[in-house]
């Protein structure tokens, strides 16, 4: 939707890669990465929630590191690689974290889940076999109001095991 009110506002052209695909877009300096993903690219997996970088529902990976897309400017993502939940599965083959979240019922409403899974991916990329305490600490930035976290911890541990045995 090209906004009437937006037409007079300044824009700047940026290039970035999202889920392996290059994009060149004219963005407003104030535009967040979350708005770019959701409104320009139709990638609605990343969610808007607290809007103040506390809850982690908007977590995406930028060059492999988790960021809160609600407060990360689209402009800051220029020249970078962005991974969203839509880019995690390998075709129809789910990532081990996605499968583990299903197997362990590690979500209920599912609104925090894309951010939670991507944060967990960043954790496992950094620490392939984390302890429960390391997972708890790492996921402090991702709020889940439904599950009480226990099944999430179980899912991340199980995914770590699956991934380790694959690389084994």
């Amino acid at each position: 939707m090209e906004a009437q009110g937006a037409s007079a506002r300044p824009v700047v052209e940026i290039s970035l890669t999202v889920n392996g695909r290059p994009h060149t877009l004219a963005v407003e300096p104030r535009e967040t990465l979350l708005d770019l993903l959701r409104m320009r690219l139709g990638l609605t997996g990343a969610k808007l929630s607290c809007d103040v970088q506390v809850c982690g529902a908007c977590t995406v990976l930028v060059d492999g590191l988790p960021v809160s897309a609600c407060t990360y400017l689209a402009y800051e993502a220029r020249g970078r690689q962005v991974l969203t939940i839509e880019g995690l599965a390998d075709g129809e083959g789910l990532h081990p974290l996605q499968q583990a979240f299903i197997d362990h019922a590690a979500f209920q409403c599912g609104y925090c889940t894309p951010g939670m899974i991507l944060a967990a991916k960043a954790l496992l990329d950094e620490i392939p076999r984390p302890t429960t305490d390391e997972i708890k600490h790492y996921l402090r930035g991702n709020i889940c109001r439904c599950t009480g976290y226990k099944k999430i911890l179980e899912a991340v541990l199980a995914a770590a095991e699956t991934m380790a045995s694959r690389h084994g």
Partner: protein, 763 residues
């Protein structure tokens, strides 16, 4: 539940992955905030900065001039509508009319081409307020001569139990409930030991990660609303009354919802969205921030004065309760919550004498309404804490004191109501075992217990369902239960699969849409699996009956030799798929079998007294460590036990219990919406602290019991709420056991605990 039945169930009770699983882990799941209606405008709401004021005037001329602005609405622009809504009283205007009654009340709203334009317009609205004296605490609201929040009250007449509203004329009390048995005061006089306390429970916020989202579109005289609502049909009714449009021209759709917990019960922002869409002549989306959700609804803060009397050998004799609930500026479901607090403050024990009374009180604060547990957390924080104190004063183990007095299965909670339908003593023993009750805790640690009880399902409700068996032998379930995380789409598919002998993959569950699913009261009060599930079960049984009849004709066999399984009928070695049976029945490979099922509270057999559909029953035990220097409480172990009646999906039942327990640990340890002078001090997630991953106790277990006593399909009950009831009294009981310090105010902040420790030392 017999062994026999256990082994014949194929889908029910077995590990079954959620039907929405893949969508939710891949980002494909479409939540209400992901719905994009073509041409949809964005909106912003201007809120009152004052708790009580007269609106002298609002100047919106500069706002209307902002490029991209399509509509600016104030309370003066609602001509032609009945602009008040509310489930108990129609007391809440969709925008303030002439007067604001709480800080954060919507005063004006803008629809514009995008959020930036809407925000720019909002900044250009000028409101001239004339501040008025405000009552922002229970004491202020109850003081003689206090300003009245509402001078006139108009009952909404929506629900049977809310027809008998009892406000106190000339006061801010909008409803009160009293129940008695024997003589409470005399009972206390006769008791050998009496404990007396005043407990408080804070305002807490649901913090659904997806906040309120409502999209409205008018097509001529037809209105379509997509909303994150737990109550599509009641919302339709409210819209019908506000806009004067009959039900058949209003369509309410509830896509996936990112958490609700009661917050999204009944109409919230749907009326405003529809009014804005009408004024703008275009679809609009109202998407309220998580921060402004704190200015929309909280749980009822409560003050509960309780006295409990017992004999020296630990027999409970009498309880007298006076409870006050702050329902804020608009009643919402406050009267019903007050009724629940009165009823549940009794507790699941044998009493001779009771006198319990609860009041819902208007104040100039953010409205309070439904939140998981619905009065049970407040009532049982007081009741179970008194049991813990009484145990200490009598020198009786707190589990033992309860076991001597708990109602057993089949004993009446109240002579006029459904008897207790599960094994509370077994739940209590299981929870206590879960933290190692039989061995003493490590030095410096203490343990506490609590039981929980809630009359589940809602008092008077209706659900209907249609199950359609298509020509290819697959099925679609039409039912209004809303998927907000609790899993009804999975459970309804399981019930249908089990009943029809179909694989789960052969079943779809229709998204709730008032044009496409039959009436359902709503997804609240833990009612979906047990009550809406009964409607689904009956609809599936109706299809099953038709299938058997067709199969009997097809096979020319007596009905009792026909079996249905795996999508096919079998008789005497012959087999016919459902598709073949449908083609045979209609004489063409088309058509479908339609099953119809209904549940309504009025149908219950005359032998079943009282309004309670089923009892949610639970127990929990906690072990804590308290830092004597700082008062910080660490929950080292937490164990709960819940009766699911019959778990259709054990993994999801367990998940409900775990989630509820951690949410309850939130209001136990740190959650509180602080309101000072009527101003919310900590709206939003920077200042309001909810449980995080590392708040999960190191030992944390949830045991599912299946006592088979539920009224739902296969003996199911609802399990959504009970887990949030026990954490506060169990943890506070553990703190007292560890330190001798008794805290009567939640949350158990380090400061409060530290002060209580000092008081206990001094005593």
């Amino acid at each position: 539940m017999t062994e026999d039945r256990e082994t014949t169930l194929e889908v029910v009770g077995r590990p079954t992955a959620r039907v929405d699983g893949t969508d939710k882990v891949t980002g494909r799941a479409r939540f209400v905030s992901d719905v994009a209606v073509p041409g949809m405008l964005e909106t912003r709401i201007l809120r009152s900065p004052l708790p009580h004021a007269r609106i002298r005037g609002i100047d919106v001329s500069r706002a209307r001039a902002v490029p991209g602005v399509a509509a600016v609405l104030t309370g003066a622009d609602l001509d032609g509508l009945d602009p008040y809504y509310g489930v108990a009283y129609k007391d809440q205007p969709l925008l303030a009319i002439g007067r604001v009654r709480y800080e954060g009340e919507p005063v004006a709203a803008v629809a514009a081409s995008d959020a930036v334009a809407a925000e720019a317009a909002l900044e250009r609205i000028e409101v001239d307020y004339d501040p008025l004296p405000a009552v922002t605490t229970l004491d202020e609201a109850l003081a003689p001569g206090a300003p009245l929040v509402h001078e006139r009250l108009r009952p909404a007449g929506h629900f049977r139990d809310l027809r008998a509203l009892r406000p106190v004329e000339g006061t801010n009390i909008c409803h009160h409930v009293r129940r008695t048995r024997g003589d409470g005061a005399r009972g206390l006089q006769r008791a050998e030991v009496v404990v007396e306390d005043v407990f408080t429970f804070p305002a807490v916020q649901h913090v659904s990660l997806e906040s309120f989202v409502s999209i409205a579109r008018w097509d001529g005289d037809r209105l379509t609303v997509w909303s994150g609502t737990q109550h599509p049909f009641p919302v339709r009714k409210e819209l019908s009354e506000i806009f004067g449009v009959p039900a058949h021209r209003i369509r309410v759709i509830a896509p996936l919802i990112g958490g609700a917990f009661g917050q999204k019960c009944y109409a919230k922002y749907e009326p405003l969205a529809a009014a804005l869409a009408r004024a703008a002549g275009a679809p609009v989306r109202v998407w309220v921030s998580v921060t402004d959700a704190f200015r929309t609804l909280t749980r009822h803060p409560a003050r509960i004065h309780m006295r409990t009397g017992a004999t020296r050998d630990g027999r409970l004799v009498a309880r007298v309760v006076r409870a006050w609930l702050d329902t804020g500026a608009y009643a919402d479901v406050g009267p019903r919550v007050a009724g629940k607090v009165a009823y549940l403050s009794i507790g699941p024990y044998r009493w001779e004498h009771l006198d319990v009374e609860a009041f819902a009180v208007y104040t100039h604060r953010v409205p309070a309404g439904a939140f998981r547990g619905y009065g049970a957390p407040q009532a049982e924080w007081a009741g179970e804490s008194q049991l813990n104190r009484l145990a200490a004063e009598l020198g009786i183990d707190p589990t033992e004191l309860r076991l001597r007095n708990l109602l057993g299965q089949g004993e009446p909670y109240d002579p006029t109501d459904r008897p207790i339908d599960g094994d509370l003593p077994a739940l209590l023993r299981a929870a206590a075992r879960g933290v190692g009750w039989e061995t003493p805790p490590r030095p410096g640690r203490g343990r506490g217990v609590a039981v929980g009880v809630k009359d589940g399902g809602g008092a008077h409700s209706v659900s209907a369902s249609l199950v359609r068996l298509h020509a290819d032998g697959t099925a679609t379930v039409h039912v209004g239960s809303v998927e907000m995380g609790q899993g009804p789409r999975t459970v309804m598919a399981q019930i249908t699969a089990e009943t029809l002998g179909l694989p789960l993959e052969g079943i779809s569950v229709q998204e709730p849409d008032t044009d496409l699913v039959p009436y359902d009261q709503g997804s609240s009060a833990s009612r979906s699996t047990a009550l809406a599930g009964t409607a689904v079960h009956r609809a599936a049984l109706d299809v099953r009956r038709q299938l058997l009849e067709i199969a009997r004709r097809f096979f020319e066999a007596p009905p009792d030799v026909v079996t249905l399984a795996g999508g096919a009928a079998r008789a005497g070695g012959r087999i016919a798929t459902y598709a073949e049976l449908i083609a045979y029945h209609f004489g063409t490979p088309g058509g479908e079998l339609i099953g119809r099922g209904e549940f309504h509270s009025g149908e219950r057999d005359p032998g079943a007294p009282g309004p309670t559909a089923f009892w949610e029953l639970g127990a929990a035990a906690a072990e804590v460590e308290v830092d004597a220097e700082t008062g910080a409480v660490r929950v080292c172990a937490y164990a709960s036990a819940t009766d699911a009646g019959r778990a259709i999906n054990p993994q999801l039942c367990e998940a409900q219990d775990q989630g509820a327990a951690v949410q309850g640990l939130g209001h136990t340890l740190f959650e509180e919406v602080r309101i000072e002078g009527g101003q919310v001090q900590n709206a939003g997630l920077i200042d309001y602290r909810v449980p995080l991953a590392d708040d999960l106790p190191p030992t944390f277990t949830a045991a599912l019991h299946q006592d088979g006593g539920g009224p739902g399909p296969f003996g199911a009950k609802g399990v959504g709420e009970i887990g949030i009831v026990m954490p506060a009294p169990a943890v506070a009981g553990a703190v007292a056991a560890a330190t001798g310090a008794r805290v009567r105010d939640l949350p158990l902040t380090p400061e409060r605990v530290w002060r209580a420790l000092r008081a206990a030392d001094g005593a």
